[in-house]
Symmetry: D2
Subunit: 429 residues, 4 copies
């Protein structure tokens, strides 16, 4: 095993691309993780309110998944099998059908894409275009769907779009719920643009949206708005794609973020916490009538990560076999909201945003948010910002976080905000 | 652990997308794999001449990597850490620098992209476009670089391109080495097109190529041609991207497929066998002067797969610390070529193609090739086709395959060809 | 001279493309035209409320322009001279500078493009993109800017866009003034979309608009809205292009449609009535600092039509040397509005739209509008529809129309509406 | 009438865009033109070997066309009639059918596009894309088809392409006849690229080409090559578009440039000399089965220029009613070739290029060609360069040029070359 020495950081500076990012905010070398706790090479522990950007909804190295994965590896189970049938895949599919699809009355097919969210989004867009024979897609302001060319076209973030180096086409960006001030009914606006034959906005292949925009600043669309958009999609012959990569897998309470909304998306993209263990894994759920790809029409070497099949199955069986987990998450969410409201009250002009365990505080500026996160890290809390101006301090801790750790993390956050407030830095802005 | 029953195949038919592919050619359920051998639920063993399309160059479940990975998991090492610094990442970078870069006089930076080859290609194209301020890219006939929108534009395959649903722009496809008949010097043609100010082909940001086209039919470019193309890239201000996803990691002998060619690519995409163990992992190697991405300008949840860091480090230390492995591969390649020549001699009009342990037999038609593979599978050999018409029977076995197994696999292949030949099916074509 | 016989219509059916259009609504063969009157082969006269879609603002065959043109031709003046200097061009430029630019405090350069409005729009978009280094352009719902690929991308009309056969890229269509219901401030919406760094709408090279949308249904933007859009363009570093092809040359009162609005567009496209005589002629007026094309960077065989230079100069000298014409147009506009209000009163639910001598009645449906135009034609009036649903009966007569003819034309229109009303056809809708 | 004074050039410098071009090479003010002679404001006469870039094939101000046009104007014939039926249009169509189409066994429909060649090209591309449902088009190196966005994508010239400001998509540029050295069969290369399913070059909607590339350097394709390309188009389901804008109307001998080639293009674009008189006029000839535009699907204010109809009819009747003109052109071409060969012999390394009355001398560099043209202008000859490097001195005089004038012009050219040769400037290169 590699011994961690002070040289380690030099190797990063010397060899890792300038594109590295989170390590700049949290400049230490991590060596161990369990539940909601990360430990660095010096033995210092950190509470993890980042959780792999919602990839670790069940915490780091969940013991049951860990045991199953080690058992699989130890018996030389298939690690890499392209898209061959394996027992691990069967196990996942069977559990997914039994615990997720059937109870929700869903009949979707599972497309194993390359193991990144962006790849799932690319596949979903391709399906929608193939099925409808149309090219344009409707996406929303502040939406984030990945940075490969097809997904990036649907992403709103100007910094990431700027990296494309070519024009990003075939996507029309329209205002998300409440994004243009409360007075503008953005669903109605979209409907008018699509209904008007001379609007210059063509009938789309798909409308793609996140019910809560994780990267975009924890903007949570209302049930009514999402339903309206679903109706608009149907009315104009477009497929509805819910990108549930960040908001799904329990983050907002249910397995899917839209469960309480009375909609059935035509396509659903899943990734991040799908494996349960933080392993690369992504999928598109497709209504059977739209499962129109030919064999390997969308392919990829790592589609179907068998280690992930193993841990994902355990995650489903452990957390989604009954309603216990959902209830726990609801309780934690209520607690989180209460605490965040208290924190927001410390900062004039700030406000709580988000839904479920995907909440944060819009503190008004990226500078303030960054200051808060820096102080929190100093005190042992890993927490990041979100939003177009990085103005939202975002709590994305494991859903399984113990109450005591949760409270301690929020205490650190609260103290950081209070300290900043007292320092007078806020007033100066 | 899931028990494998006859129900297992039904779950695939019921729930897995029609895009599933290899499982159609090899319709059994695999449960175990070791070295070059796969075992199915019934206990039947298969010799693996597919090796995850060159993802398993070191075989399935290499015991040293397996041990290191289990150790890492058992001690709650970081599984998912976004792009945070971890000891596992340090270990990989240190080994990569020491065993790969330094001995080859390379000073490239390592960009950890999303863990798919396509994602690495997307990142490389973005870098080239950003660095040069140009948009067009030169790619080659029969090239395969992935199926997300940016990579797909550079891919030649018409079936995959057809799945895009939108036009694939910003890439000019030109003939690969020897692709237009031996009389046309395709490098010269490219040079003329780029040199001519009224050709309609704009100065490119990059020229991207595989030195051996794995999916495109095992077309192996000559050293001279690759050098010419490298010179053309430089002369016209374009970056040279070698896509070494399939041909790298020892497949053609050296760690990189271009080591004997006297070129230093500006950007190199790596994936497939990079983790050594079949785990999702991809990277772009970037010359320092072109490492111009801003923090997170290209990002992704699964960039930096820590399990893969662990196994990749072991792979480097085990196979690339000295020249022993390279010599073994060279010996196996020579044996392979001898055997394939003998097999090709059985089929009038067929010919051996490829380089190193990436060779096969062009049998003239996809039908013939498919028939051969079917018979081989019946007899316990997993082998697939390649090429624009699926006309090449492609041997992509683990580089570590034992001689006895290797010979047995080739015996099965030879028998399949002989049987087909005797059946008179070939003559009828 | 060709004798007009009954065969003539057969030659059209036999040889002219199915793309022919106006001749379907007015199926006779015209042989002569003077002022506001067209005469067909049978000697029947028609009042012209179409005026070449605002190309004949000064009427057909104005005697002074006619005399100057015949003098030019008779003395073998230059007809075609590419973009060589000619006396005719000098005469036009001198008059344009003296009578149009100087009095308005404008310092624009004159770019002679290919002699179509679409070509001028293409050139303007190219300039804006070159000057700013940006690619995207903002255009508005219901805008019409031509049907060549660059201009068509900025055109809203779905029927015309459908003819492109390729995706129309690099233009973002946003709602025009009042187009989304009076409650949505569309300028504010545009500003928010551009100000928001994660909106997915990139900073544009230009904002292009018509102050009155001629083809789009006679939507007239308010002075305040146009000023707001001009400010938004400036604030976001975009050039403001006013497409004055249909609304300029006196159609809305002044020489430019925006004269009363307190803006100075960076680029102005002119065509249609610019020659005064109906001859093909188009130009882009460019602020000197944006006159950045290299020699022939935008070229074309017919840029600079010398016949048009001759007649355009006469038109400027005859109509724009003082304010008399403007006053006459204002009077006629007032009369037109009065009469149209009366006509609209006959049709429940209809309303008057437009500005200046570019007004019409929105009769609620394309069917009703078409019925009205058919009856009008029967009675000797040529008038057409406009709008996304062809729901606006549009009066576009020569600005020089004699009062008596004008009144007679409006009488015919009024009678057609009244007749339709009485027939009960309207009620049935 | 405007008096030409020395101020006139100042008005151009002050007001005309920097995009002005030919006037830079020929810096005088022209006032009069007849046949092959231009006269400037000082009374100096110039022989015109430019002829509006082949727009004045019948010379300036042909007396018969002039008489017909003046008669038309004097009797208030229709000047501008959108696409209404007029007697002038009937006259043109009737003559075109009788004198051009029928004798050649052609049944094409006539689409009157906006009156520029680029507009005709845009329309032709739209038709091909609509008819085939495909998006890509094949165009050739050094082809020139106009500078509006759709046409510009098919144009090879890098300078003009650079003016687009957006990527030029949906066109694949392949080598023209003989453009890659005589050893490469470029038609075969094209065929292989289209036949190969993994070439990355999609099946095209159309193949567009000029039989002689006027702007591209007078490259003349052979009959055999054009026939091969026509076959390739048919074999791959693509429409064949011959862009006859510069090479048609007698320039290469017949009315169409491809008459001797045994092909019938699906679409033919015509402009430049079509009106006979230098008036803006363009058309697409469409095989009836491909005449699939809906009414006004491609439209434009100046489609159908009635003045041009009048002169075009006279041109057809005067020059194309029998074979006399064709014979004269053939004689003049033979004379031209003889003289140019003599001129080329003066310059080591130079060679004659082109076909018919579309010939010139490739003098090896743009500098040399420019020097020659400057000296010729000094001596009263207007002549321009062509080619990717402006390396071809191009003779494009009126086809009707009198022998004496023709000889005098060629004498001036010969003297300019001789003078340059003696000056030693050539040797220095």
């Amino acid at each position: 095993m590699t011994t961690v020495t002070t040289d380690d950081k030099q190797i990063f500076a010397r060899r890792e691309s300038e594109a590295r990012s989170y390590c700049r905010s949290f400049p230490t070398v991590f060596t161990k993780a369990e539940g909601a706790t990360l430990t660095d090479a010096s033995g210092k522990e950190y509470i993890d309110f980042l959780a792999g950007c919602s990839t670790l909804n069940y915490g780091h190295n969940d013991p049951d998944m860990k045991a199953a994965l080690m058992e699989h590896i130890s018996r030389d189970g298939i690690t890499h099998g392209l898209d061959l049938h394996t027992d691990a895949k069967a196990g996942f599919l069977e559990a997914f059908e039994r615990l997720i699809l059937r109870p929700r009355g869903m009949d979707h097919r599972v497309l194993f894409t390359g193991p990144t969210g962006a790849n799932a989004v690319e596949a979903a867009l391709k399906i929608a275009r193939k099925v409808t024979g149309r090219q344009k897609v409707i996406a929303f302001t502040n939406g984030f769907h990945g940075v490969t060319l097809g997904a990036l076209a649907a992403t709103g973030n100007g910094y990431h779009r700027g990296g494309a180096g070519v024009p990003l086409d075939h996507v029309t960006h329209v205002p998300y719920h409440n994004s243009m001030g409360g007075d503008i009914d953005t669903a109605d606006l979209l409907n008018r643009m699509l209904a008007e034959p001379s609007s210059g906005v063509e009938k789309p292949a798909a409308i793609i949206l996140e019910t809560v925009q994780g990267e975009g600043g924890l903007n949570a669309a209302s049930r009514e708005w999402v339903r309206r958009v679903a109706e608009i999609a149907r009315a104009h012959g477009a497929l509805l794609i819910i990108d549930d990569i960040q908001a799904g897998c329990g983050r907002t309470g249910g397995f899917f973020s839209f469960e309480e909304m009375g909609i059935t998306p035509d396509l659903i993209t899943m990734a991040k916490s799908l494996s349960g263990f933080g392993l690369p894994f992504a999928t598109v759920l497709v209504k059977p009538e739209y499962d129109q790809f030919g064999p390997a029409e969308h392919n990829g070497t790592f589609r179907g990560n068998n280690h992930a099949f193993v841990t994902a199955r355990v995650a489903l069986e452990k957390f989604w076999a009954d309603d216990a987990f959902r209830s726990e998450v609801a309780e934690r969410s209520a607690y989180l909201e209460k605490r965040l409201n208290k924190i927001a009250a410390l900062l004039p002009g700030s406000r709580v945003k988000g839904r479920g365990m995907m909440m944060g505080v819009d503190v008004g500026s990226g500078e303030t948010a960054s200051e808060i996160c820096k102080r929190a890290f100093r005190d042992g809390l890993i927490i990041e910002t979100s939003g177009a101006h990085d103005e939202v301090v975002k709590v994305l801790c494991p859903l399984t976080i113990e109450q005591q750790t949760f409270a301690r993390g929020l205490d650190i956050l609260e103290a950081a905000v209070a300290e900043l407030n007292q320092s007078g830095k806020i007033a100066a802005e």
